[in-house]
């Protein structure tokens, strides 16, 4: 099995390095194909590992080589394929295989075709390290690696200022969180003496709660950054400047879920500190609602989907925080499928619309883009959690978990958010595919994407439809490692009321969205009363949070930096020069002592002698009358 582990891990690296060989050359179709094949190989290996694990096989644990070893610290490159990581591997390799294939078409006309595959495969590699590593340091490698690749891919079109800005924003915000993560790692090391999961986790049981709380909080700060939780969420929406396959792979299916993965991976830690878990769950619920609300009014197709991703991440954290780790993981997986599908569909639309992102400028596209329409509709249904699509199973279990744990506020928020989710998803579908063909005003001639792109997307389509059936086997698989349990609500009636109620609520939201938007005919120009309402503005401007960051963080930072530089030059450096100048100026001022006139020179000599003489006399007198002087001094109280 180790063989497959290595193949799964290193095939993406090989792919990346192979593609990198051609970065400076012109576009080569075969680069994309070979890269896709290599990623597919990784997928196949992962599948073999999955069957191995599913078949009750041993956890595959290898130690490739030493990375760092100093003092008591020992960090190997160790990899583990257990129930959790194999799930993640499947998600990662599957989605990335599809995205790779899709990208061959999507990036067809791009100059940086080869470079794109290099980055994309590098991302897959980093993600594999992240999920497969058997220690926190290895996790951190992947953690930073995906951050790096995300930077490279968001800023892929580096001629666009906004893209590179977004790339930097994403990187820096993640760095803020990474600091928390790093501190968490240090805490783990100094308290348990190791960073290996299988040594550190058992050791947690012996630590006091305050230490564990610290560890939990700091690790979660790391997770917050990568999973774009409030208040570090702004980068995710801005990250949509990257190519759409990137958004599908990184900012929907895989990287952003790394935070969730971390919490799930550290379940043994978080189980010991339920109060932190509750905080995580509350924050998750809040983010779910918060992000969904922003998605309601946004006029950028990709940003809407990004906010929806954010909202779904909130769900996952809510589940994980409540201790329903397996549910979180399951939702993570299901979400990866339908969200990637949604993004790739959006990519098709963008291609068709020549990179136009405002759904109000589209409309009626279902005529020209039938395949895409179907896929996006189904993905949206899955997202909304309509039976029998994937989202239904995963999301509903989260709601059940919240209910069963008696966190009614969280439950309520999540249910309400489910309605919002349905609304904004179908607002998007309605605006894009139904109604009048508003794009004609802008003289755009949309066309369907390459067929192979659609075919590449089809596995996701299928999974988005049927992922629910995996719930049972998945539960069985992770049961042991995640200490999972089914959530049983005592009364069957309650269960049914909840289920049907939610479904009806969601269905109503969909209908409302269709009713409101499917016959939309104009492009809003900011004059309608709704667009001028306070709520709309608040939501449209993302609660003014990016503005606040710009105004109260970025600008002050710039100003303080500039000021510091002035301080450096005018205070620190000037004082050094000042000290040096004291000598020079003193020299300059006193050099006239040497006036060159013999008379003055002689006077200096005599003056020196007289000075010494008077000192001598004073000293002589003092010595002679020392007794008297001492008496006087003591009289004075000296």
């Amino acid at each position: 099995m180790e063989k497959y582990l290595y193949i799964a891990l290193f095939a993406p690296l090989v792919s990346s390095m192979f593609s990198a060989l051609f970065t400076n050359g012109p576009k080569k179709q075969f680069v994309g194909i070979i890269a896709s094949l290599l990623i597919f190989t990784a997928f196949v290996s992962s599948s073999i590992l999955l069957t191995h694990i599913l078949g009750g096989g041993e956890v595959v644990h290898v130690e490739m080589m030493t990375w760092m070893h100093t003092g008591n610290l020992y960090i190997p490159f160790g990899f583990v394929v257990d129930q959790i990581s194999v799930t993640m591997m499947m998600v990662v390799t599957l989605v990335s295989t599809i995205v790779h294939v899709y990208s061959i078409g999507y990036m067809d006309h791009d100059k940086g075709f080869n470079r794109f595959f290099a980055w994309l495969s590098a991302f897959v590699f980093s993600m594999m390290i992240l999920v497969m590593s058997d220690n926190f340091a290895g996790l951190f490698i992947g953690w930073e690696g995906v951050g790096l690749c995300s930077w490279g891919l968001i800023g892929f079109w580096f001629h666009k200022d906004i893209a590179t800005w977004a790339a930097n924003e994403a990187f820096i915000m993640n760095r803020i969180a990474d600091l928390g993560m790093l501190i968490g790692i240090f805490l783990v090391y100094w308290n348990t003496g190791s960073l290996q999961y299988d040594i550190a986790f058992p050791a947690f049981a012996n630590l006091d709660t305050s230490t564990l709380t610290m560890i939990g909080i700091f690790l979660f700060i790391g997770a917050m950054g990568k999973s774009a939780q409030f208040p570090l969420h702004t980068w995710l929406a801005d990250a949509m400047e990257g190519p759409t396959p990137v958004s599908a792979l990184i900012h929907a299916a895989t990287m952003v879920t790394a935070g969730v993965y971390l919490v799930i991976r550290s379940n043994e830690l978080y189980s010991l500190i339920p109060h932190v878990g509750l905080f995580i769950a509350s924050l998750g619920a809040f983010v779910a609602l918060f992000a969904a609300s922003m998605a309601l009014v946004n006029r950028d197709m990709k940003r809407v989907i990004a906010y929806s991703t954010l909202s779904q991440l909130g769900y996952m954290f809510a589940a994980a925080g409540l201790g329903a780790y397996w549910v979180a993981l399951f939702h993570l997986m299901a979400h990866a499928f339908f969200k990637a599908l949604l993004f790739l569909g959006a990519g098709n639309v963008m291609h068709a619309m020549h990179d136009e992102l405002d759904p109000f400028k589209m409309g009626g596209l279902k005529k020209v883009m039938k395949g895409t329409w179907i896929m996006m509709t189904i993905a949206s249904l899955a997202l909304a959690g309509i039976f029998p699509f994937a989202g239904f199973f995963s999301k509903d279990t989260i709601l059940e978990a919240a209910f069963a744990e008696h966190h009614m506020v969280i439950y309520g928020v999540l249910v309400f958010t489910a309605g919002l989710t349905a609304f904004y998803s179908f607002r998007l579908v309605a605006l894009i595919f139904h109604g009048e063909e508003r794009y004609k005003i802008f003289g755009i001639h949309p066309h369907e994407a390459y067929k192979f792109m659609l075919i590449a997307m089809s596995p996701l389509l299928i999974l988005a439809m049927i992922a629910g059936v995996f719930q049972e086997p998945f539960f069985n698989m992770v049961e042991e490692i995640l200490g999972a349990m089914e959530y049983h609500i005592h009364s069957h009636v309650t269960v049914w009321i909840m289920l049907v109620g939610t479904q009806v609520f969601v269905g109503l939201a969909i209908l409302f969205a269709y009713k409101k938007y499917s016959s939309w005919s104009t492009v809003p120009d900011g004059s309608s009363p709704m667009e001028n309402s306070f709520i709309y503005k608040l939501l449209y401007n993302q609660y003014y949070i990016p503005f606040a960051y710009e105004e109260y963080v970025v600008k002050p930072y710039n100003e303080i930096s500039a000021m510091m530089w002035e301080v450096d030059k005018k205070v620190v450096d000037a004082s050094v020069d000042g000290i040096a100048n004291i000598f020079y100026t003193t020299g300059e001022k006193t050099r006239d002592m040497q006036s060159g006139n013999l008379s003055t020179m002689l006077k200096w000599m005599v003056a020196g002698t007289v000075g010494l003489l008077s000192l001598a006399v004073v000293f002589g007198l003092a010595a002679r009358y020392s007794d008297e002087i001492l008496a006087i001094l003591s009289g004075l109280g000296v």
Partner: protein, 516 residues
């Protein structure tokens, strides 16, 4: 030959430098490269012959110099110094190989060879005065390099560099003389041998003063806030090769000296001053990173970033445990490689455009993709990306210091944020966006000569990031013996507790916890 390999390493370049006067101007570059390669090969041989399992000094040489005053020519390397020596010879070789056409190439190469002698000398000397000799002597070639080949303010910059470091090291010299005097009082013989000094246990009050005296010399060299202001000038004005060697090797003298002198000689004082030094280190990290962010000149960005990174090294050193010190030694190598490469990279664009202002660039990634790639790799290494050389050192340094102070490490960790800010923004300004200036439109990409210098550095950056063991292991062994020495010598309660006892089985969890 192995018995005298260190002497050969030191004096071969000097001899070659003297002989260099006889070489024809046109052939000088080839000569310089050959000498550089031989020296580098010798230093690799040193590594090859080095026994990683021995923690003490190896290849020791001992010649009486002024025995009546206790000054002897004693050389030796251990894991701490070995790699810095190799790095010094590596950078001299690469520096000469990538030297772009300047006036007086001959003088430049001869100067570089002399500089190499002093660099190797500093890191192999095991006698206080011999160390000091090379330490001071290294200023002279650098003074010449900055002053003769530098920018418009070169004379100011070089003189400032010289006098500032000179003044600091004179205070250190007084400290050394005191140290020797105390040794004389204790034993009745004069000795400046570091290994002899190691055996001397001083009362804490003496340690404090001596620590302070040594600190002035080292802090200016490192350079630590607020003594750092010579560095931006020196880097800003120096020619590429000067900046490269200054950043890669010369700055390491200060941090190396902390580990070689301050820690083992004054363990109690090190503990006493740990917090103040850490605070200075944190100021270095954050403050200079912010100043770096405010720069308009890309070379100044890299220069200030050096100061910032040196802060992490200092912090790791004053972690006073094996993890931290090993990390800081490793980071010395890492920072040397990375900042050296970054200065080389800045030099590449300076050669083409004769300006270093970032506002003059923009969109270079379109015109010079290879350059942008290498710059990007090095930038990411500098930012501390895992699997690149700097990360190992930074991680270990911060990890080490965490056992001493939670809050301060948290503050110091801001390094990874602010570091990313200035580097990414600088990179964006230079490489991203559209090409706005007409002059930039037809810039040639990196040429072969530049690649000769850059590619090995890229390889090392990634190699040692992925597999630091060959370097980290000897470092670790030597650092363990240093820490053990400190633990044994510590007299105060606090110092005994904060400096771990390495030979003890494992740091038990309880003791680690108590340290919080």
């Amino acid at each position: 030959m192995l018995d005298h390999i260190l002497s050969i390493l030191i004096f071969f370049p000097a001899l070659a430098g003297v002989m260099g006067f006889m070489i024809n101007k046109e052939s000088m570059r080839a000569y310089g490269v050959s000498v550089g390669i031989i020296e580098f090969a010798l230093s690799l041989w040193l590594w090859f012959a080095f026994d990683s399992n021995v923690s003490g000094m190896q290849f020791m040489e001992h010649l009486p110099l002024i025995p009546s005053f206790g000054i002897n020519y004693i050389l030796g390397v251990d894991g701490i110094s070995l790699f810095i020596v190799i790095m010094a010879s590596l950078f001299t070789m690469l520096g000469i190989a990538s030297l772009t056409d300047t006036k007086n190439v001959k003088n430049m190469i001869i100067t570089l060879l002399f500089l190499q002698m002093t660099m190797v000398g500093v890191f192999t000397a095991l006698d206080g005065i011999v160390f000091y000799v090379f330490w001071e002597l290294s200023l002279v070639p650098m003074l010449y390099i900055i002053g003769a080949w530098g920018g418009p303010m070169r004379i100011y910059a070089s003189v400032k560099f010289f006098l500032y470091t000179f003044a600091g090291s004179l205070v250190m010299l007084v400290g050394m003389l005191f140290m020797a005097y105390f040794y004389y009082q204790a034993t009745g013989t004069w000795s400046f041998a570091i290994l002899d000094w190691y055996r001397l246990i001083l009362p804490e009050s003496f340690q404090l003063w001596l620590f302070a005296a040594f600190f002035v010399g080292f802090a200016i060299k490192v350079p630590m806030f607020p003594f750092h202001t010579w560095l931006p000038y020196a880097h800003g004005q120096a020619p590429t090769i000067g900046s490269v060697i200054l950043a890669a090797v010369l700055l390491k003298m200060g941090t190396y000296a902390f580990i070689r002198f301050s820690l083992p000689l004054f363990p109690d004082a090190s503990v006493y001053f740990m917090y103040p030094v850490a605070v200075i280190a944190i100021i270095m990290i954050i403050y200079t990173a912010m100043v770096a962010y405010a720069q308009k000149d890309v070379k100044q960005v890299v220069a200030y970033s050096s100061v910032s990174h040196m802060g992490v090294i200092i912090l790791g050193t004053f972690a006073l445990n094996v993890e931290g010190i090993s990390g800081s030694v490793f980071l010395m190598i890492g920072h040397g490689i990375v900042s050296g490469a970054l200065f080389l990279l800045v030099g590449v664009i300076y050669d083409r455009r004769h300006t270093k202002l970032m506002s003059e660039f923009g969109g270079l990634a379109h015109v010079m993709p290879k350059y942008a790639t290498i710059f990007g790799i090095m930038m990411m290494a500098s930012v501390g990306m895992p699997l690149m050389i700097n990360f190992v050192g930074e991680f270990l340094s911060l990890l080490g210091f965490y056992s001493q102070s939670h809050m301060l490490t948290l503050l110091a960790g801001v390094a990874i944020i602010v570091g990313a800010i200035y580097m990414l923004i600088a990179y964006k300004r230079m490489f991203f966006g559209e090409v706005t200036k007409e002059e930039n439109r037809n810039l040639p990409d990196v040429n072969k000569r530049e690649l000769i210098a850059l590619v090995p550095l890229v390889i090392i950056t990634i190699w040692l990031g992925v597999y630091p063991k060959p370097v980290l292991e000897p470092i670790n062994n030597s650092v363990e013996s240093v820490v053990q020495l400190m633990h044994n010598k510590a007299t105060t309660e606090d110092a005994k507790m904060r400096i771990p006892n390495v030979s003890g089985v494992v740091i038990s969890k309880t003791s680690a916890k108590e340290a919080h």
